[in-house]
Amino acid sequence: MGRGTFISAALHGAILLWVLVAFPPSNLDKAPLVAIPIDLASQGDVTKIKAGTKDAKDDGVLAGKPEEKKPEAAKEAKPPEQTASLDDKADDKKAKPKDEAAAKPDTQKQNDKMAKDPKQAAADQPKKPKPQAKKRDFNPDKIAALLNKIPDAADDPKPVMPDDGTPPKKVKGQTNGTEITMSVNEIDALRARIADCWTPPPGGLGADQIVVKLRLKLNEDGTLVGYPTVANSGSSPFFQAAADSAVRAVYQCQPYELPKAKYALWRDMILNFDPSDMYRSG
């Protein structure tokens, strides 16, 4: 027993020693723990939609706002930068900044530009653990902008809301607003109401692949502001028929009875009309 304990202690000691030799602390220190500014998002931040305040700064893309051109360039520039820094070997650490600066002057410039953008900066400033490199200017809002930009159809020139003549309201429903949410019941009621107004076309060969993305703006009294816009496109006659049926549905359903206190949430909606389930069951 005593002998066993001794052997065990000796072996453990040997392993510890080996670890110290094999992984010297200096080596570990060298690890380029690149500082990545992360905004920790709680579940609520993601799932709850927040209503804005009238004087809030606009901190992201919002319906009706003309799209910024920049993210187009950022889309190309950003990913290479991230992969490069993250995949770098520890030994390359010293050479890295130079290489990267040389390799991607454009990226650098682009990111600087983005960082200077006052709108973006507002959302960016807090909680940067170690603003080590300017180029690590990671910005979740930009990702959001990129995601928002993914077009629904290749040839669709981005759903910019038409200028319908209504004065822009000062409400900015964004991350810094007062937290309110649409309840599940409210969402279900709205969905049921629209479903009740919607008569999809009878379908046909290939029609079950069609989804119509409709964007609509509502007045506080629940009536439509201007025309709803079809935010995607399709070449088939079925698409046109389906899009018309969706527009008819939202016209027929108005005025929408929705909680006035949550107007900031429902004043701007996207409805995806997808009849595929109905065709399958029929």
Binding site: V34, L147, A246, R248, M269, M278
Partner: protein, 444 residues
């Protein structure tokens, strides 16, 4: 090994980072409420069709007759519900102006058709507009000329344009039906070949009734038909152009039970010929009159029909003991059974849009009409009853016509249509009894 660990750590970090980025991104995208609407109501579209107006050069009655055709066509499809004119606030709408949509919204119309008919140089001039009442948008508008005697056709063409714009699918109203007109007592019927518009109007007889005629078949691409005629004991196959009335004999075929069907390009026909008690399938080139054998079995292979791309043929065969449906390539290779359900299956007909095969099914003493996919799945019955037979497809592949026989001395076959939902079944008016319908392609 040493660099490996930090590398792993960083990879993990990268993953976590991208996950977070996605989360943050979706948070932003949700700034706008986004809902998926996956359910709607299947119901006919309420459409207002006020009487078409004359432009002064014709009797307003003629203009009204055309809007009546449009309303009847759309109503028969089961997809439109023409609103009773008694409810209209605005009885007639100025063709050149924008309709008062509020008045049409009050009567719950979702679409509005206005039309104007006139005469010019002995021809009929027709104009129509289709409006979306809710959005106030014009969806379609056309103007065309036609021969004065084609007034009903003008109505069918307008109905097709409206149908196509609202459903996204080609219409089928400007089409004709060839069928066998049956008159006289049940044991001594006179059977004549007849043609009419798809709505039962303009019936014309094509044969005199001296000889028994059976199973007319339309070419999918031309206004030609084939049919069988018994002169004595031997059935002859004729080719008839219904525009010119030109008729020719394709050949005499002892033991034939169905007339041949055309290939999609109208150049070939495919048929079943009986030899020594069993029947095999043959294709014939209509120009060279050369025949090619497609099947060679001990069984009875019959009722062949091409797929709309011309690459495959569906047929019935009793090679497995009972009548079932089989599919093969157009050259006879890869013959395989597709019907798997209870009962026996016969007279398969491939849909013009290619997605379904219609059939007659004998189950527990009843003849049913149903459809299945070309791989045999999705087998479903559309209509039941004592005796249903002979399905033929409308050119858009959404509606089937068939005949239904009724028992008793006074009973006889009548023509019916049914759509793919199985709900919208309608009888087609014929002067006497009618059987063996064949639906034409759209008339151009």
């Amino acid at each position: 090994m040493a660099p490996f660990i930090p590398h792993l750590v960083r990879s993990g970090l990268a993953l976590a980072l991208s996950a977070l980025a996605l989360v943050a991104g979706s948070g932003q995208a949700n700034a706008v409420v986004e809902l998926n609407i996956t359910q709607g109501k299947i119901q006919p579209l309420p459409i207002a069709i006020p009487d078409f107006t004359g432009d002064g050069s014709i009797d307003p009655q003629e203009a009204r007759a055309i809007s009546d055709v449009v309303a009847a066509d759309l109503s028969s499809s089961g997809l439109f519900n023409p609103i009773d004119q008694a409810a209209f606030i605005e009885k007639q709408t100025n063709f050149d102006g924008v309709p008062r949509f509020d008045d049409w919204r009050v009567v719950n119309a979702q679409a509005l058709v206005v039309g104007r008919i006139g005469a010019s140089d002995g021809k009929l001039k027709a104009e129509f507009r289709l409006w979306d009442v809710l959005s106030g948008k014009q969806l379609a508008g056309e103007q065309f000329f036609a021969r004065a005697k084609d007034a009903r056709r003008v109505g069918h063409i307008i109905a097709d344009a409206i149908y196509e714009r609202i459903t996204g699918e080609k219409g089928y109203f400007d089409t004709r039906i060839v069928f066998v007109d049956e008159s006289g007592p049940k044991d001594k019927r006179t059977k004549r070949l007849a043609i009419m518009d798809q709505d039962g109007f303009n019936v014309r007889l094509l044969t005199t009734g001296q000889n028994l005629v059976l199973t007319p078949r339309f070419s999918p691409s031309t206004q030609d038909i084939t049919y069988m005629s018994y002169e004595g004991e031997t059935p002859r196959v004729y080719l008839l152009n219904i525009e010119t009335g030109q008729k020719e004999i394709v050949g005499s075929f002892p033991g034939m039970t169905f007339a041949p069907r055309f290939s999609p390009d109208g150049q070939r026909i495919v048929m079943s010929l009986e030899r020594d008690g069993n029947a095999d399938l043959f294709a014939m080139d209509l120009r060279s009159r050369r025949t090619f054998q497609l099947t060679n079995t001990e069984a009875i292979d019959t009722a062949p029909c091409y797929s709309p791309d011309g690459r495959q043929i569906v047929f019935e065969s009793d090679r497995d003991g009972s009548q079932q449906i089989y599919v093969m390539n157009a050259d006879g290779s890869d013959q395989h059974r597709i019907s798997q359900g209870e009962g026996s299956y016969s007279t398969p007909v491939w849909s013009p849009r290619g997605d379904l095969i219609a059939f007659t099914k004998l189950l527990r003493g009843e003849f049913l009409i149903g459809v299945m996919k070309p791989d045999g799945t999705g087998d479903r019955i559309l209509t039941e009853g004592f005796h249903n037979e002979g399905p033929t497809w409308a050119p858009n592949g959404r509606v089937l016509m068939f005949f239904r026989d009724s028992p008793g001395a006074a009973g006889g076959p009548k023509l019916y249509t049914i759509d793919l939902t199985g709900y919208n079944e309608r009888q087609v008016a014929t002067p006497a009894f009618g059987s063996d319908p064949a639906w034409s392609p759209l008339i151009n």
